[in-house]
C-alpha cells in the first residue's frame, strides 16, 4: 500500500453527461451516472470501510465489508458494486451494519497472523485500519483451520509473497489482469482453500509475472510487500518525480526515510502512466547508490595511465585548458559535445549552449542520432513538427492500432499495458514486425494481422499499404483537400498508384502476402480511428526518414490525424530523448527545432547569450567519429552517453575515441566510453537533482531532488563550471532559472515555468499564449507547417544484403528488464532475468548449422565478429536472427555496420548481413575487450589522490 492509498475513493471515477443526485447519510451528493455508491460517498467525505475495493480497479464485491443500507431495498448491498440512482437514500452507519462489518472482520482476522508489531505493513495496513474502524475486539475462531503456516515465496528479487498474510481479496489478480494485462496471477481452488498463485511456474520468479509491481501496490496487507520495506521499514515522506528509464516518463513517488529511498511507487495522478509502472521504474533504482558510482573527479594524460583523483576545480580547469589548447592548435571546429537523453532538459540545454557559446561551434549532437533522428526529420517535413501527435490517453479512443517496428510490452511497458487494455475492449491490432512480438498473441489479445516482413523492407510495405488505400478509394478526400498541399498530394497520388507499389508486386520483396497486406490496409483505413505507434524498427534503417514520411503520408491520406484516437506516435527510447531534441541538441538546430541558418532566430540567441553564433550546421556524431579518425577532430565533451557501447561498428567508434586528445566524460560510472577518457566528471542520477524530462507525448514533467548529489554537484552545475572555466560566464542559481531562459527563447515553451508545472502537474508542449495549459493533440485544425505535405517515398533496398558469405539478417533490440546499454539495469537485480545477451534464431537456421539451444555461436558480419549463446525461438522467421546490446562484452555493435539513414545518419541497427556458426570460444574482439577492460579496471583501482579532492569548488 503506497502513501497515496489513503486518498483512494474505492472505485474508479466515471464520466457521464448525466448527473445523478442522491442522499448519503443525509447529505445530498451529485455525481456522474455510473458512479458507485462507495465513490459517491467518498466524494461527500464519507469513507466506507472496504478491503477488496480500490480506486485503481473495477469493483469486485467480495469482501462484504462495504455493505450499506438503501431505503426501500431489502438486505445490505455492497456499496462498491451498487451504482447510484436518482433519489436514492443511503445509510452507511447503523447498528446492523456495525455488527455485520465486525463479523466479517472477525472471520478475516481468524485466518491472519496477529503479528502486527513486527509486520512489514505495520502502520500502513488496510486490514489493520479496518479492524480498528469496525471495533474488532475479539476473535472467536482462532483455533479453527487456517493458512498461517504456509511458506513465503521470496523468489522475486524485489518483493515477497507471504500467503499467511493473504486475505484473498483478489486485488492482485485483478491488477495483474486489468492494469498490467499479464494475467500471470490467478486464484486456485475454491472456498476456504482459495489461494493466490503465479501462473506458469513454481514460484513468482519462474512464473509469467513481469514484476511490474501493480499487485504489490494494491495489496491491502503485507502479503505482497517490497523487500526494501521488509528490510528497512515504512517510508516517512514522499517526493513526486519522473522515471529516468524509457520515453513513457512515468510519474513516480520516491518514498523515503530521510534521504534514503525505501521504494518507488507510481503516482496515480501521473498523466503518462495513470498510476502504473514497470519492473525498471518501480524497482530498478538501486544503481543510484551502487558501489561502482564514481564520486571524485579524475584526470589522466593517457588512457593507459592510472587515473588521478583531483578536486572539482582542478578537473574543470584541466578540461577547459585542454579544449582551449586543442582549439588553438587545430582550429575552433576541432571540438564538440554530446548531450544526454538521460539528463534533464535544463542540463541538455546548457551543454548545447556551452558548445555554441563557449566553444563557438555547432558540433553538438545527442543520442537521438542513433534512435529517433529520422522521426524529427520525417515529421518536420510532412507535418511541420518533430514530435508525436497525441497523448498516451489517446489510445483509449483508437479503433485500430497499427504497431510498426515497436515492441511496447518490452520497450515501453506501461504504454504497452494501456494499449492492451484498449485491445481487450475491442480495438483491432495490426503488427508490422519481422519477429512475433508478444502483442501478436498474448492473453486476451491477438493481432488481426501480423505482417511479418523481411528486415529492411519497411518502405516497400508502407507504400503497398498506401497503394491499397488509393487503389481501393479508401482515401479521406475531404481531409486531404482541406488540410494538405494539393500539388504534392497529386504528385504522391500518381506515384503511389503505380503498380510497382501494389501488394502483389511488393510481396516478393517484403515477404508479406498481398491478401494479408490488403486486409491490413482496409482495416486501418476503414475501422474508425486509426492510430499508428512506431519505434526503432522504423527509424534505424537506411530509409528510416523515408519510412517516417511514409507513415505520415498514410495518416494524412486516411484523415487519421488531428483528434484523439488517431495520429502518428513515435515511441521514444530514452526518458528525455524528446527533450534533448527540443533543447537544440542537433548540430543544425537551435532550441525549438529552428535551423541555425535562420537569421532572426540566431540573432535572438546571440542577443540573449552575448556572443556571435555560427549559422552553419556542425558535425553529427558519426561525422565526429570520422573526423577524429581523419585527424581533424580532437576534443569531445560527453555528458551521460555511452557511445562506445551504443553506437554501431564498435571498432570504428573506439578507433575514434583513441584518436582524441581530450575526451571528457561526465557519468555515474566508468562506462565503456569513459575507459577512453582523459577527464572524468562524476554525474548525478535523477534522484540527485532538480529539472524536467519531456516524454514521448511531449509531456514536460518535473524531476525532483530526493537526495543530495553523491559527488556534490548536479550535472547542470558541472556544465556551468566548465563554461565559466572556458571564459563564458554562466550563473544560474537553479534549474528553474534555466527553464525560464528556455521559455523566453523558445516559442513552443513560452508558457512553461516551474510554477506552472507545479500548478498543472505536467505540461505537453506547445505551451504558450495560444495554449496556456499545453497541447495534448497536435495539428487539430491545421498542421504546424500550415498544410500537410505528402512526400514521395520510393523504396530503395539497403546496401546491406545477404549473400553466400553472410546469408542471415541480424536485427537488434531490447528487452523488458534491461535498459539500453544496461549501465543502470545491469547494476540492479534485474540481471536475474537477463544475465547475458543471447542470439535468437529460428529452429530451421539452427538445425542447418547444427546449433543447439545454449551453444556458443559466432556472429560475423563485414564489420566484425562476436560470440553469443544461442536461443532457438520460433518468434524469429527463417533467415533472421536477433540480439540485444545490454551487456558490453556481448559486442552486439561489433557486428553492426556504419550504414545509416540517408537523411540523418541514424545507424541501420536493424539490418546487418551475418553468418552464424557454432564455435568453442569467444571472439578475438571479446578477448581484446576483456584485456582492455581489465587494464582500465586496474587503472581505476590504482587511482591516486586524496579525500580533499572531493571538496567542491
Amino acid at each position: 500500500m503506497s502513501m497515496h492509498s489513503h486518498h483512494d475513493r474505492g472505485t474508479p471515477a466515471r464520466v457521464s453527461s448525466r448527473q445523478v443526485t442522491l442522499s448519503i447519510d443525509g447529505m445530498t451528493v451529485t455525481v456522474p451516472a455510473g458512479t458507485s455508491v462507495m465513490h459517491a460517498a467518498a466524494e461527500a467525505g464519507v469513507d466506507i470501510p472496504r478491503l477488496c475495493a480500490t480506486e485503481q480497479l473495477e469493483a469486485f464485491g467480495s469482501c462484504r465489508l462495504c455493505v450499506v443500507e438503501v431505503k426501500g431495498r431489502r438486505g445490505y448491498p455492497a456499496s462498491c458494486t451498487t451504482l447510484v440512482e436518482e433519489g436514492m437514500q443511503v445509510a452507511t452507519q447503523s447498528d446492523a451494519l456495525f455488527r455485520l462489518r465486525r463479523g466479517v472482520m472477525e472471520l478475516y482476522i481468524s485466518d491472519h497472523p496477529l503479528d502486527c508489531l513486527t509486520c512489514a505493513a505495520n502502520g500502513n495496513c488496510e486490514l489493520q485500519d479496518m479492524a480498528g474502524r469496525v471495533g474488532l475486539r475479539e476473535v472467536r475462531f482462532a483455533d479453527g483451520a487456517n493458512h498461517l503456516t504456509e511458506a513465503a515465496d521470496t523468489s522475486n528479487p524485489y518483493f515477497a509473497y507471504d500467503p499467511a498474510k493473504c486475505i484473498v481479496c483478489s486485488r492482485c489478480v485483478r491488477a495483474c489482469s486489468d492494469i498490467q494485462g499479464s494475467f500471470a496471477l490467478t486464484t486456485t481452488e475454491r472456498g476456504f482453500d482459495t489461494r493466490i498463485a503465479a501462473a506458469g511456474g513454481d514460484d513468482f520468479l519462474a512464473s509469467e509475472c513481469v514484476s511490474c509491481g501493480a499487485c504489490v501496490a494494491v495489496c491491502p496487507t503485507a502479503a505482497l510487500m517490497e523487500k526494501s520495506v521488509i528490510e528497512l521499514g515504512q517510508p516517512r515522506r514522499s517526493v513526486t518525480t519522473t522515471c529516468a528509464y524509457c520515453g513513457v516518463g512515468c510519474a513516480l513517488d520516491a518514498e523515503l526515510q530521510g534521504d534514503r529511498v525505501i521504494r518507488m511507487v507510481p503516482n496515480p495522478a501521473g498523466g503518462a502512466n495513470r498510476g502504473h509502472a514497470c519492473v525498471k521504474g518501480r524497482f530498478a533504482w538501486g544503481y543510484a547508490t551502487h558501489a561502482d558510482r564514481i564520486t571524485t573527479p579524475m584526470i589522466r594524460s593517457s588512457i593507459h595511465e592510472p587515473w588521478q583523483a583531483v578536486s572539482w576545480e582542478a578537473a574543470i580547469n584541466h578540461a577547459a585548458a585542454e579544449f582551449r589548447r586543442l582549439q588553438e592548435k587545430y582550429g575552433a571546429e576541432s571540438v564538440g559535445s554530446i548531450t544526454s537523453s538521460r539528463c534533464t532538459n535544463e542540463e541538455t540545454y546548457l551543454v548545447q549552449k556551452l558548445t555554441r557559446a563557449a566553444f563557438g561551434v555547432n558540433n553538438v549532437d545527442t543520442c537521438a542520432r542513433v534512435c529517433h533522428s529520422p522521426t524529427g526529420y520525417g515529421l518536420k517535413q510532412t507535418l511541420g513538427e518533430s514530435a508525436g501527435t497525441q497523448d498516451f490517453d489517446s489510445v483509449m479512443q483508437a479503433d485500430v492500432v497499427l504497431v510498426i517496428g515497436a515492441n511496447p510490452t518490452d520497450g515501453h511497458p506501461v504504454f504497452g499495458s494501456r494499449l492492451k487494455q484498449r485491445l481487450r475492449q475491442g480495438a483491432k491490432l495490426i503488427v508490422v514486425d519481422p519477429r512475433a512480438i508478444d502483442l501478436v498473441d498474448t492473453p486476451h489479445v491477438r493481432a488481426s494481422q501480423h505482417l511479418k516482413l523481411r528486415p529492411g523492407t519497411n518502405v516497400a510495405l508502407v507504400n503497398a499499404l498506401a497503394h491499397v488505400i488509393v487503389d481501393e478509394n479508401l482515401l479521406d478526400e475531404a481531409f486531404v483537400a482541406a488540410r494538405c498541399e494539393a500539388e504534392p498530394f497529386a504528385k504522391w497520388r500518381a506515384f503511389i498508384a503505380d503498380p510497382r507499389h501494389s501488394p502483389e508486386a511488393t510481396a516478393a520483396v517484403t515477404g508479406v502476402a498481398a491478401t494479408e497486406l490488403r486486409a491490413a490496409a482496409r482495416l486501418y483505413a476503414t475501422a474508425g480511428n486509426g492510430a499508428i505507434y512506431y519505434g526503432l524498427g522504423v527509424t534505424e534503417h537506411s530509409q528510416g526518414s523515408t519510412m517516417v514520411m511514409g507513415i505520415a503520408n498514410l495518416a494524412m491520406a486516411t484523415g487519421n490525424i488531428g483528434r484523439p484516437g488517431v495520429g502518428v506516435n513515435p515511441l521514444r527510447g530514452q526518458n528525455n530523448v524528446q527533450g534533448s531534441c527540443d533543447m537544440g541538441s542537433f548540430p543544425h538546430e537551435l532550441p525549438g527545432y529552428r535551423h541555425v541558418s535562420d537569421e532572426a532566430t540566431r540573432k535572438q540567441f546571440e542577443a540573449a547569450w552575448g556572443v556571435p553564433l555560427s549559422g552553419e550546421p556542425g558535425l553529427r556524431i558519426p561525422n565526429m567519429f570520422d573526423a577524429a579518425i581523419g585527424g581533424s577532430f580532437k576534443g569531445l565533451y560527453v555528458q551521460g552517453e555511452d557511445i562506445a557501447q551504443s553506437d554501431p561498428n564498435t571498432r570504428h567508434v573506439t578507433a575514434a575515441m583513441e584518436a582524441l586528445e581530450c575526451l571528457v566524460v561526465q557519468d555515474l560510472f566508468l562506462n565503456e566510453t569513459a575507459k577512453f577518457a582523459h577527464v572524468f566528471l562524476p554525474g548525478a542520477s535523477f534522484l540527485e537533482k532538480d529539472g524536467t524530462f519531456t516524454n514521448a507525448e511531449r509531456r514536460i514533467s518535473r524531476v525532483r531532488k530526493v537526495m543530495p548529489p553523491l559527488a556534490g554537484h548536479a550535472d547542470w552545475e558541472v556544465t556551468q563550471m566548465l563554461a565559466n572555466a572556458l571564459g563564458y560566464p554562466m550563473h544560474y542559481a537553479d534549474p528553474a532559472e534555466i527553464m525560464a531562459e528556455i521559455a523566453r527563447l523558445t516559442p513552443s515553451f513560452h508558457g512553461v515555468s516551474y510554477a506552472r508545472l507545479e500548478e498543472l502537474g505536467s505540461i505537453q508542449w506547445p505551451c504558450n499564449e495560444a495554449h496556456p495549459s499545453g497541447t495534448p493533440t497536435l495539428h487539430e485544425t491545421e498542421f504546424v507547417r500550415g498544410k500537410g505535405r505528402f512526400m514521395l517515398t520510393e523504396f530503395v533496398a539497403t546496401d546491406e544484403r545477404v549473400n553466400r558469405r553472410f546469408p542471415l539478417l541480424l536485427t537488434t533490440g531490447r528487452i523488458l528488464s534491461q535498459y539500453n546499454v544496461g549501465a543502470q539495469t545491469r547494476r540492479t537485480a534485474n540481471t536475474v532475468w537477463h544475465p547475458e545477451d543471447l542470439l535468437e534464431l529460428h529452429p530451421v537456421d539452427a538445425e542447418d548449422r547444427g546449433i543447439r539451444d545454449g551453444d556458443r555461436v559466432g556472429v560475423a558480419s563485414r564489420a566484425g565478429e562476436t560470440v553469443l549463446r544461442a536461443k532457438i525461438s520460433e518468434r524469429m522467421q527463417p533467415g533472421v536472427v536477433y540480439t540485444t546490446f545490454h551487456w558490453p562484452g556481448s559486442g552486439a555493435n561489433v557486428v553492426t555496420t556504419e550504414n545509416s539513414d540517408w537523411a540523418t545518419n541514424c545507424p541501420e541497427y536493424k539490418v546487418t548481413a551475418v553468418q552464424v556458426s557454432r564455435v568453442e570460444q569467444v571472439s578475438a574482439w571479446q578477448q581484446q575487450y576483456a584485456r582492455f577492460s581489465a587494464e582500465q579496471a586496474a587503472l581505476l583501482k590504482d587511482r591516486s589522490g586524496t579525500k580533499a579532492a572531493d571538496a567542491p569548488v
Binding site: E333, P617, G618, N623, G630, G631, S632, A903
Partner: protein, 80 residues
C-alpha cells in the same frame, strides 16, 4: 572522414530526391539537404572531390546538384 563515405552518403541523398519527376526540384532538394544538414567542411570536401576527381563515384543527379548550387554549398576546408 574519407571521401568514399561522403560520396556514399551523398548518393543516398541523391537517390531519395531522384524520385521527384522534376529534375530541377530534385537538384534543389539535394542542395538544400546538404546545406542544411552537412557541416561546411564535409560539403567542401565533396566539392573538392568533384573538382579533383571529377566526382568519381557520385551518381549524376548529385553531381548536377553540386554544380548547380556550388556557391551555396561551398564551405571551409577543414575536416578531411
Amino acid at each position: 572522414m574519407n571521401i568514399e563515405r561522403l560520396v556514399s552518403m551523398a548518393n543516398q541523398i541523391g537517390t531519395f530526391f531522384a524520385t521527384d519527376p522534376d529534375a530541377d526540384a530534385a537538384s534543389i532538394g539535394i542542395a538544400q539537404h546538404l546545406a542544411s544538414c552537412w557541416a561546411p567542411s564535409m560539403r567542401q570536401a565533396l566539392l573538392d572531390h568533384l573538382d579533383d576527381r571529377n566526382g568519381e563515384g557520385l551518381v549524376p543527379i548529385v553531381g548536377k546538384a553540386l554544380r548547380d548550387h556550388r556557391e551555396r554549398l561551398a564551405g571551409r576546408r577543414g575536416h578531411p
